[in-house]
């Protein structure tokens, strides 16, 4: 054992180095640091109330399982929601991880199958709409998460977005000066007509930290990346930010957290108030600016298309 690698708190052998904290930590004190960061986020931004009925969007990956685990550990009542996206073996395996996590802990997991309930999957939707698969995936998940939360009487929808996710989205929105998106990029979006409260308790943890949380806690998660996300812009922004982080530790945290504290309040007045412009979708009743919402239009287009195997989409993205 290297004698220099000691926990900052207890001086026992460290298991992880966190350059942005300029410190190493043992397993016990690393977990403690993660809990403190999540509690700080929840308290500072008033993300959750003790009596919130929470629905966690679960993918089977590290972030969603880590946030579910953390919330349960911190004493919150939280059920899980898994959406089967039909991305070949990847989705089959990711569902297994989510189910096993829930079953091992006696937690409730709600499942929705895109193919089973809406007649399409993400590879088919990508082909049918001639857009990148992440576009149909994001649209489907946002709609189904909102719907499941409202239908189930949940008062908070939790996602596992971490510091890297938020910093990457912030970089992308800043590069294009997407003022309305920037104004909405907050750890909490309050509930409003047709939308549940949405919160991101992991925004103070990097994805290296959420992955490490899972390893230390013995959480088995799907490590493999989505086979059709490869090469997307979001991953490019993350690589750019991590290259900057390697040169200057703490850059990602400063970029995102200072945005939320200093810039987001200045943008609040620029947030488009589209509530008056929203009406109910003629087909599903969800809020929409048109007659039929984007999700129902996607369902109509994708479910009418012949089924497309994921391999076809993967070949097209190489």
């Amino acid at each position: 054992m290297n004698p220099g690698s000691k926990c900052r708190t207890c001086r026992q052998p460290a298991i992880i180095d966190l350059p942005r904290h300029n410190a190493n930590f043992c397993a016990e004190h690393f977990l403690e640091l993660c809990r403190r960061q999540v509690i700080k986020a929840i308290e500072h931004w008033k993300l959750l109330e003790r009596d919130d009925k929470i629905l966690v969007a679960v993918s089977g990956g590290k972030d969603s399982l880590a946030v579910w685990d953390l919330l349960i550990e911190l004493g919150y009542q939280a059920d899980g929601l898994y959406v089967g996206l039909g991305i070949g073996d990847y989705s089959d395996v990711s569902g297994d991880y989510a189910r096993r996590f829930a079953a091992d802990r006696g937690l409730k997991l709600i499942e929705i199958s895109l193919r089973g309930e809406y007649g399409y999957d993400i590879p088919t939707a990508a082909k049918a709409t001639r857009r990148v698969p992440c576009s149909a995936c994001g649209l489907s998940k946002r709609h189904l998460f909102d719907k499941a939360a409202l239908d189930g009487g949940y008062t908070a929808l939790v996602t596992g977005h971490n510091l890297d996710d938020e910093a990457a989205v912030l970089l992308g929105n800043t590069m294009r000066w997407e003022i309305d998106y920037l104004a909405r990029q907050l750890p909490k979006l309050e509930a409003r007509d047709g939308f549940p409260k949405k919160v991101k308790p992991l925004v103070r943890l990097t994805e290296r930290e959420t992955a490490a949380w899972c390893v230390v806690r013995g959480i088995d998660y799907l490590v493999d990346e989505c086979p059709i996300a490869a090469g997307n812009k979001h991953l490019g922004y993350k690589a750019t930010l991590n290259a900057m982080e390697a040169e200057s530790s703490g850059s990602k945290a400063a970029f995102y957290l200072n945005f939320v504290e200093r810039m987001a309040p200045l943008l609040a007045g620029h947030l488009k108030d589209d509530r008056e412009a929203l009406r109910e979708c003629e087909q599903c009743g969800s809020p929409t600016s048109g007659d039929v919402c984007a999700f129902c239009r996607l369902v109509a287009t994708a479910s009418a298309h012949e089924r497309v195997p994921v391999e076809l989409i993967m070949r097209g993205r190489r």
């Binding site: 350059p19 992955a211 490490a212 230390v216 490590v223």
Partner: protein
């Protein structure tokens, strides 16, 4: 040492001992986007890896947003 990598999945044989950060640098991997795991336990950046160790280098980057 035997080093297991992903994306794509492969196994490398590396001669001799290394510190974790030196191994990552040698392989061109950013420490911010990887964890190094030995026998199910994380190894910090200045942790010493033995020539006989079996190591997993696990990427931590997710593509969704």
């Amino acid at each position: 040492m035997q080093v297991h990598l992903r994306n794509p999945t492969r196994v490398l044989e590396i001669e001799g001992r290394r510190k974790v950060h030196a191994l990552l640098t040698e392989l061109g991997l950013n420490r911010e986007s990887h964890l190094v795991i030995r026998n199910g336990t994380l190894v910090p950046g200045d942790g010493e890896l033995d020539a006989t160790d079996v190591i997993e280098i696990r990427p931590v980057i997710s593509g969704g947003a």
